[in-house]
């Protein structure tokens, strides 16, 4: 009896192979859940961008501003599904030299054939009971793509056509940034395997590239009507709800924790622990240290450099984090704190320079905060983390390698933004008609005011000397000076000095 019971129990007990198989499945499912919830948290980035830009816009443009952020999802998602992800899978070596078997980099056997797995008709791109990871990994990258488009979105508010923005968003989110991610933000990227390029949490590959793309667009888009006086000095437009803007920034910061986590790789039965995107070991705690103290440093730097301006103090926090993201897996928190302070200051100074000296109307300082600080962050790794063995072939990071990445990504980002917006401008499809811009985009696009219960008060503009004046006469005067095709008389980027 006893023998038969023991035999029966033993027969039901799992074999070591079965246990191994089950542990492997559990590990994959945990990975699946991990990436899924990073995506949930990253949605807050887009809620935040919408609130941030909506608050920074004047009342007459609030819904058209928000609609840009919402429809970003409508265009970047399908374009990224149909060709964006394929670009990431196939162009790590610069060109898929082995076709769909690419990438074939020595030491990266697990990546062979990744290219063919990213085509929209591949088994990994649909319901697949044997693959728990590919779909959620794709989704995490999709959220990064939305983010790049949202970064550009804030710079161009209050005068760009919605349709022009959507075309540019698809180009940036589903072609430009993902190409640079293939080159410098993947374990097989040629910048990584040859030059040890290190940008672990995407200072440059997301933020810097989106900022450079936005700069190219802004040069063709031109400033908002009335932004610059004849003598070239900049006026300020007061956003309709600064509180909403600040809350939006805090939501972006919350979403960043999901973004940071999604930049890491974890699967316990395949890898011994957390890896960064290059396959180098790190921990979730290490990057959490850096992001949190990066915000602290950035707020501090932004506050002092702007002399307490609330918008730039919070933007400084974003700039601080971006400045330390490239080395977030390496930096000691104290070093990250110091670097983030400098990043917050760099954002304020460069933002003022772009607005007042270059006379480029970047409505939310995106080029300074994301673009300048994104490039700055990668440069800092070359200075403070040179010698770190990056990636599976452990090429040492260096100032030269980081510079190589910057030189590759600046034209890769800037030129498509400039050329695409130039083409749209030539077809008169880039900017809204000046009459519509003056009246506000919401009435033209949606036929309604989105604060019907509030009395409409005269709009205010702040002159360079700090005086607050009613905007209607100022804007009408500027409108009368615009040509009939909507292009401002004051040349973009130069400003007309009398």
């Amino acid at each position: 009896m006893t023998v038969s019971l023991v035999t029966s129990l033993l027969a039901q007990a799992p074999t070591p192979e079965e246990l191994q198989e089950q542990i492997s499945l559990d590990s994959q499912i945990l990975t699946e859940q991990f990436y899924f919830y990073t995506v949930v948290v990253m949605w807050l980035i887009h809620v935040g961008f919408m609130a941030y830009e909506g608050g920074a816009s004047r009342r007459k443009n609030v819904m058209s501003t928000a609609m840009k952020n919402i429809l970003t999802i409508a265009v970047v998602t399908p374009t990224f599904y149909y060709f964006g992800w394929y670009i990431y899978g196939c162009f790590e070596e610069g060109w898929p030299k082995d076709g769909h078997d690419s990438p074939t980099v020595e030491g990266l056997d697990f990546l062979v054939g990744f290219c063919q797995n990213t085509a929209p008709w591949a088994a990994q791109m649909g319901p697949n009971l044997s693959d728990h990871v590919s779909a959620v990994f794709f989704l995490a990258f999709l959220l990064f793509s939305w983010t790049t488009a949202s970064i550009m979105s804030g710079a161009v508010i209050e005068r760009i056509r919605l349709s022009a923005f959507l075309i540019l968003a698809a180009l940036l989110g589903s072609a430009v940034w993902i190409m640079d991610a293939a080159w410098g933000w993947s374990s097989g990227g040629w910048l990584v395997t040859r030059f040890g390029f290190h940008d672990s949490i995407a200072s440059l590959v997301v933020h810097g590239v989106a900022g450079a793309f936005a700069l190219g667009v802004l040069l063709n888009l031109g400033p908002r009507i009335g932004k610059y006086r004849h003598d070239g000095l900049a006026r300020s437009f007061r956003g309709h709800n600064t509180h909403l803007t600040l809350m939006g920034l805090l939501l972006i910061f919350t979403g960043f924790y999901g973004f940071y986590a999604a930049c890491l790789v974890i699967q316990s039965t395949t890898f011994p622990g957390w890896l960064n995107i290059y396959g180098s070991p790190t921990t979730l705690g290490a990057i959490a240290f850096v992001i949190t103290i990066g915000f602290a440093g950035g707020f501090t730097g932004g506050w002092f450099a702007s002399k307490g301006d609330p918008f730039w103090t919070l933007s400084g926090g974003l700039a601080g984090v971006i400045s330390v993201s490239a080395g977030a897996d390496i930096y000691h928190p104290s070093l990250a704190y110091l670097l983030a302070i400098s990043g917050g200051m760099v954002a304020v100074w460069s933002g003022n320079y772009i607005e007042k000296k270059l006379r480029i109307d970047d409505a939310v300082g995106a080029v300074a905060v994301h673009g300048v600080c994104g490039f700055y962050g990668v440069l800092l790794v070359g200075i403070f983390a040179g010698g770190f063995p990056t990636g599976v072939n452990q090429v040492e990071s260096s100032f030269g390698g980081q510079l190589m990445g910057m030189l590759a990504f600046l034209p890769l980002a800037f030129l498509p933004g400039y050329v695409a917006s130039w083409i749209l401008k030539k077809f008169n499809l880039l900017r809204v008609p000046p009459e519509v811009e003056l009246e506000g985009l919401d009435l033209a696009e949606f036929g309604q005011d989105f604060f019907p219960e509030f009395e409409r008060v005269p709009e205010i503009v702040i002159e360079p000397d700090g005086r607050e004046v009613e905007s209607a006469p100022v804007l009408l005067e500027a409108y009368w000076q615009t040509s009939t095709n909507g292009r401002a008389e004051t040349p973009v980027g130069t400003g007309e000095r009398s």
Partner: protein
């Protein structure tokens, strides 16, 4: 022990019924082409529809005279934000 739930059998059965076929099937290719076509048409639609709206509103605003330069140059008397709606919209 782990086989108490017939996951493998069921998985095999359901895997044969992905909508219009699995990896690299004709159905999947057709769905991909249709999806890409819808995506491209959406872009064209965004451009055309918005262009119509903007052109109509700009024309209404110009016709209203609210944005015209006053007869005496340099004198601006506008004191309220301009709101003009299209009566036909």
């Amino acid at each position: 022990m782990f086989d108490a739930f017939p996951f493998d059998d069921w998985a095999e059965a359901t895997a044969e019924f992905w909508t219009f076929g699995g990896e690299g099937s004709t159905g999947t290719y057709i769905m991909t082409v249709l999806g890409v076509a819808a995506m491209l048409m959406a872009f064209v639609g965004f451009v055309i529809l918005e262009n119509r709206k903007l052109a109509r509103q700009a024309a209404v605003l110009k016709a209203s005279g609210a944005l015209d330069r006053p007869a005496v140059a340099g004198v601006v008397t506008t004191t309220t934000t301009i709101i003009t709606t299209d009566p036909e919209a």
